[in-house]
């Protein structure tokens, strides 16, 4: 029986990470829809969701066949690569070394590219627009599927992780449908910072567990690892931000 700590951290990590991915996919689908019409945008998005369903249907049964230790190790290492990459970029954005991700800018860039493509291929069926929506939803969706598997599979909580991800995607889609604008006010770097910390903590926990480490406190050690990565990340921001500001 998983502890409350595990349940909250699995659902929370899945929701927050999926929310960020869904916001990025929504930005592109909105740009396609507003620049080139809703038919290619929604067709591309629906085709990507169908492709994702096929991927999940094909890979889902395989997960049950993998020994739990091997699954924990592979998922743990992939989470470390994925989580530490997110956390690194979030720290570098926080200290100003790389630019903040701007949904308004991404939206404008996609609109510009689609408008240019439209001028070049005015008489063709809108494959470019459909493909842009397809690619965005497929790539962000694969990230969501990976996150769900990564945070849920090693503890047998795939259902819970899926609910967290689905809730995030539904929330973003509902907000997007209501306002027809990119969700530029979402504190994306703050979310990525938090998700990077959580995924890195899960990765450390499961990699250790797969190697036979009996973590003190059991699942509660995840909270200690969250605190550890948070302290390191905030420490780096505090240490390096003045230096980066001086260089700018």
């Amino acid at each position: 029986m998983p502890s409350l700590t595990t349940i909250i951290s699995v659902a929370g990590a899945s929701f927050a990470a999926s929310f960020v991915e869904a916001v990025e996919a929504l930005t592109i689908v909105l740009a396609v829809g507003l620049a080139r019409g809703w038919r290619p945008a929604l067709t591309g998005a629906a085709a990507a969701l169908a492709a994702l369903a096929l991927i999940v249907a094909a890979l889902g049964p395989l997960l049950g066949a993998v020994p739990i230790r091997a699954l924990q190790f592979v998922v743990g290492v992939l989470l470390l690569l994925f989580g530490l990459r997110w956390l690194r970029k979030a720290i570098l954005r926080a200290i100003g070394v790389i630019a903040l991700h701007d949904e308004d800018a991404a939206f404008a860039r996609e609109m510009r590219e689609l408008a240019e493509a439209e001028r070049r291929r005015a008489n063709e069926f809108d494959w470019i627009a459909g493909a842009a929506a397809f690619k965005a939803v497929l790539l962000e969706g694969i990230e969501v599927v990976f996150i769900v598997i990564a945070v849920g599979a090693a503890r047998g909580l795939l259902g819970l992780a899926s609910v967290g991800a689905l809730a995030a995607c539904v929330a973003v889609a509902a907000i997007g449908a209501a306002i027809h604008r990119p969700l530029a006010r979402v504190p994306e770097n703050g979310l990525k910072f938090a998700v990077g910390v959580m995924l890195s903590a899960f990765g450390l926990f499961w990699t250790g567990e797969s190697l036979g480490v009996a973590w003190p406190g059991g699942d509660a050690a995840i909270l200690a690892f969250i605190a550890l990565f948070l302290a390191v990340a905030l420490g780096l921001v505090a240490l390096l931000k003045p230096r980066a500001a001086a260089l700018a």
């Binding site: 190790f73 290492v77 992939l78 470390l80 690569l81 994925f82 530490l84 990459r85 956390l87 690194r88 970029k89 720290i91 570098l92 954005r93 200290i95 070394v97 790389i98 630019a99 903040l100 991700h101 701007d102 493909a131 690619k135 497929l138 790539l139 694969i142 990230e143 990976f146 890195s200 990765g203 450390l204 990699t207 250790g208 190697l211 036979g212 480490v213 009996a214 973590w215 690892f225 550890l228 990565f229 390191v232 990340a233 780096l236 390096l240 230096r243 980066a244 260089l247």
Partner: protein
């Protein structure tokens, strides 16, 4: 399109190649110590808890020091 998708999938896990290499080296080395029985469980846990944040710190420090203006993604 497929090559773009494959590149972006790899990009999910590898952004700074040195960070990815450091993570894989640290985990590989610690795994070898754990599986050979050369290190007890508590030491394996301690090494993971030190090495991985250290790899992150080194990667961030290196990027900040160089002041690279990386593209937002």
């Amino acid at each position: 399109m497929i090559s773009v998708v494959v590149k972006q999938l790899i990009g999910l896990f590898v952004d700074d190649e040195l960070l990815a290499a450091a993570i894989l080296c640290a985990v590989g080395l610690i795994s070898a110590l754990a599986l050979s029985g050369a290190a007890p469980g508590w030491l394996v846990g301690l090494m993971l808890a030190v090495a991985l944040p250290a790899a992150l710190a080194a990667s961030v420090w290196r990027s900040a020091w160089r002041g690279t203006r990386e593209s937002a993604g």
